[in-house]
């Protein structure tokens, strides 16, 4: 795919996708709970969440393989909830690729175009173009079983984009590849999406994948969309504890909120107390959340109150050092950058931890 494109990229009709008030149950198992989403035309969008949270179910709902109990799916302004899968024009790349073993690569890619009864010459031209797009023209006469995993994945993508669907759905497209291929292929996918300008929904349970290639992400847990935002928004301003925990490492300190107005304090444990900044919005049952790199050791950040702790253990990671620090009954981690010549703190040593009010998050579950 790295090769320059020999043909002009096919123009796709980028369409927005709206999911409205969707509920879905398998028997008594309520899998999707009031899902509402707005995906913009041409956007690279991710459904991110732990396995079993309902991502595939939602994707298959958009493709028409699952029926919602309530709610609707709108693509390009048209409500497609009542259409069968073969009338939706929503292209899906399956996690297993689902390449038909009895057809060559070329026949696989031509399939959707043939179903659309296009003239033969146009089919041929578009198959060539789709294969060029993924750099597999030379393998057109092979059978899927004669291809590597990465090549199969590209054929699956080519087969779907060949029909120029309004929306491209990718269900964990990288999960069957080894770690090195995954990084390469995800870049290629992003590249391809940019060139085609096609609205794309990418399902993954891997936050790094979603962060690196997607414009916006919907974080899901237990059938509920927890938050929608760009990767940076989600990392910097997670809406709740789940999002904070799922995207990157987060320290969570529990405590009781006491006092009123400007005198509010966060009582972590007897003798360990933090003042809550007057302008902070703190939900009831909130916990103090901060990232490992947002805390300073033995140095007080402006406006911060240091917390007393003890170094429990230490991991040397090369560019940084990760300390496990015991504060009261909780262990947190703090990352400090490492430069040659630095002296490391020894385990067992008492130390103070300070978190600037800017980096402190007050989140409930």
């Amino acid at each position: 795919m790295a090769a320059p494109i020999p043909h002009p990229a096919p123009r796709t009709r980028a369409a927005g996708v709206r999911v409205e008030g969707v509920n879905l149950s398998y028997g008594t198992n309520h899998v999707l709970k009031d899902v509402n989403l707005e995906i913009r035309p041409g956007e690279f969008f991710a459904f991110l969440g732990p396995s079993g949270c309902g991502k595939t179910t939602l994707l298959r709902l958009i493709a028409g393989f699952n029926q919602a109990d309530t709610g609707s799916v709108i693509v390009g302004g048209e409500d497609i909830s009542g259409l069968p899968p073969w009338k939706r024009d929503v292209g899906m790349v399956f996690q297993s690729y689902a390449l038909w073993p009895h057809m060559t690569v070329r026949r696989n890619v031509a399939f959707g175009l043939e179903e659309r009864k296009l003239p033969r010459q146009e089919i041929e031209a578009r198959v060539e173009r789709a294969l060029d797009l993924v750099g597999l023209r030379h393998l057109a006469e092979r059978r899927p079983s004669q291809l590597s995993g990465g090549q199969q994945q590209r054929v699956a993508v080519a087969r779907t984009v060949a029909v120029e669907p309004k929306v491209l759905l990718l269900d964990e497209p990288l999960s069957n590849l080894d770690a090195k291929m995954r990084v390469q292929v995800r870049r290629e996918l992003r590249d391809l999406q940019q060139r085609l300008g096609i609205t794309t929904i990418f399902v993954t349970h891997d936050q790094e994948e979603a962060n690196t290639i997607c414009d916006r992400i919907a974080v899901m847990s237990d059938g509920v969309v927890q938050q929608v935002g760009t990767p940076m928004e989600l990392y910097e301003r997670p809406a709740n504890l789940f999002v904070a925990n799922f995207l990157g490492t987060a320290n969570i300190l529990e405590g009781r909120i006491q006092g009123q107005g400007p005198d509010r304090i966060f009582n972590i444990e007897d003798g360990i107390v933090l003042p809550i900044p007057p302008d902070a919005v703190v939900p009831a049952d909130a916990k103090l959340v901060f990232r490992p790199q947002d805390a300073a050791l033995d140095r007080v950040e402006t406006g911060a109150v240091p917390l007393p702790g003890t170094i429990a253990h230490r991991e040397f990671l090369g560019s940084s050092v990760r300390y496990g620090i015991q504060i009261g009954g909780t262990e947190i981690v703090v990352d400090t950058p490492f430069q040659s010549g630095n002296v490391l703190h020894e385990p067992g040593r008492p130390i103070t931890v300070s978190v600037s009010p800017r980096s402190a998050l007050w989140l409930a579950s």
Binding site: W86, S96, W100, G112, T160, N176
Partner: protein, 569 residues
Amino acid sequence: MALALSRPVPRSHLSPGQLLVAGAIAAFLLLFLVVPVATVIYVAFTEKGTGAFTLVNFLDFARTDLFVRSFWNSVYVSGMSVVWASVFALPLAYLTTRFEFRGAALIQTLGFLPLIMPPFVGAVAMQLLFGRNGTVNLLLDDWFGVKVPFMDGLNGVIFVQSVHYFPFILINLSAALRNIDRSMEEAAQNLGSSGFRLFRRVVFPLALPGYLAGASLVFVKVFDDLATPLLLNVKDMLAPQAYLRVTSIGIADPMGYVIAVVLIVASILAMWASAAAMKGRDYATVQRGGGGLAKRRLKPWESALAYGIVGLILLLVLAPHIGLFLLSIATIWSFSPFPDAFTLAHYARVFGESSIYIKNTLIYATLAGLIDVVLGTAIAYLVLRTRLVGRHWLDWAATAALAIPGVVLGIGYLRTFYGVTLPGGTPLAALWIMVVLALAIRRLPYALRACYAALQQISVSLEEAAENLGATKTRTVRRVVVPLMTGGILAGFISSFSTAAVELSATLMLVQSNSDAPLAYGLYVFMQSPAGRGAGAALGIVAVLLVALSTFASHLVVERSQRAKGAAQ
């Protein structure tokens, strides 16, 4: 038999015991499979009297109208049986695997029933139900004034065979349909395909290997079957011709041997053709992910139509059982839609004077089953667990029996062992033990497969643990391997037993006296005279029950051993 070894064969030292066992198996296969078949081929290619090589026998075959006609009749009957068997099997397989269908499991089970009855037994019942003066035609004549020649001439053979053998297609096709990864179908729908196009372009091609496997099996079985055409009085087919030549003209006449060679070649060709057609098409390993085809819900009118079709097919394929049962309790049943009155006298007769048939069957089938599992276990062990040079030859030889029709084996035994006489002057071929050996050879490939499966499931480390604790190879086999294989061995025994119990082709040639005859032979004798039909039907019902019970038992055994293994892991 292609064997995928999932783990390296342990580098073991050959023990003298293993060599001895391998030698004994080789001798057995040589004596009772290779030599008889080779003899048949040899006779077909040599000049009578001089023993010189010649093709003249084949020229004679090609120049004799009767043989040429018989050949084409056999091809036609086998081909049409495949067609009709497909007509019965396709809707059942498709509807039960592809749609939400109440009673799908029951339908699949009922669909297997025809297999547990020898086809020639069904033939008599089919005559009574569908013959020129059978139930259906009498009713049709009454109501509409027409008669349909379901059972006339070759039609009868085709009808009986397709009803009998269609389960082979049903089993294979259903399994293939169930194995299709559901996303294969969804991907096609996602790209705009639906309905019959979807079936034609994606679903059926993916199920084709299973269909071909079943269809080729049906073709070969019908091509080789002797008893059904004989019982329907159709003589101008190949297998009956071979039998008639040898039994009426004598074992010296070369024509029987030529026909035997033609039968072998046709069997091999059909198997080869299906293997060639499937080459590179075994998709099971290519497909990933889970779940079979997505099951659809039927609309009410579709549902009614589907149940109507399924009901009709089931009624048809179960007709032989129903007819046979009626016949077994009827006093007189002829020229009337249904029997005149009912009686249990036939059963009394079967269990009284004719109980010798049942006794013989139990003895023969038990012995054949025992021989099969002993050979099967030993061959499986030698192939999977040792590096004995030439061990695969044992496997190949035993499996080659698949391609040898029963008639051919029977002729081979007659020719090979007739000249060998015992001290008392009886020819070896006349001994009842020959029947047992022929049955054992015929069933060996199936038992062997069961033993392979059982052994492959046992981890090598279990044996290594025993050796590590001081057990010798022989003792390890006895104390660890065989006990763990028990379930598989037993299943192999039962399947050999139950199919041997109703096998007739080879038996028909080898049985010399009524007192040595097994049930299938007795059935055949009974069914030939109108007066014997009631008793024959009763004997048929006994055979069906015998096979049904043992099939059920093997099912239980397999399930129990699987559960036990599951629990141990």
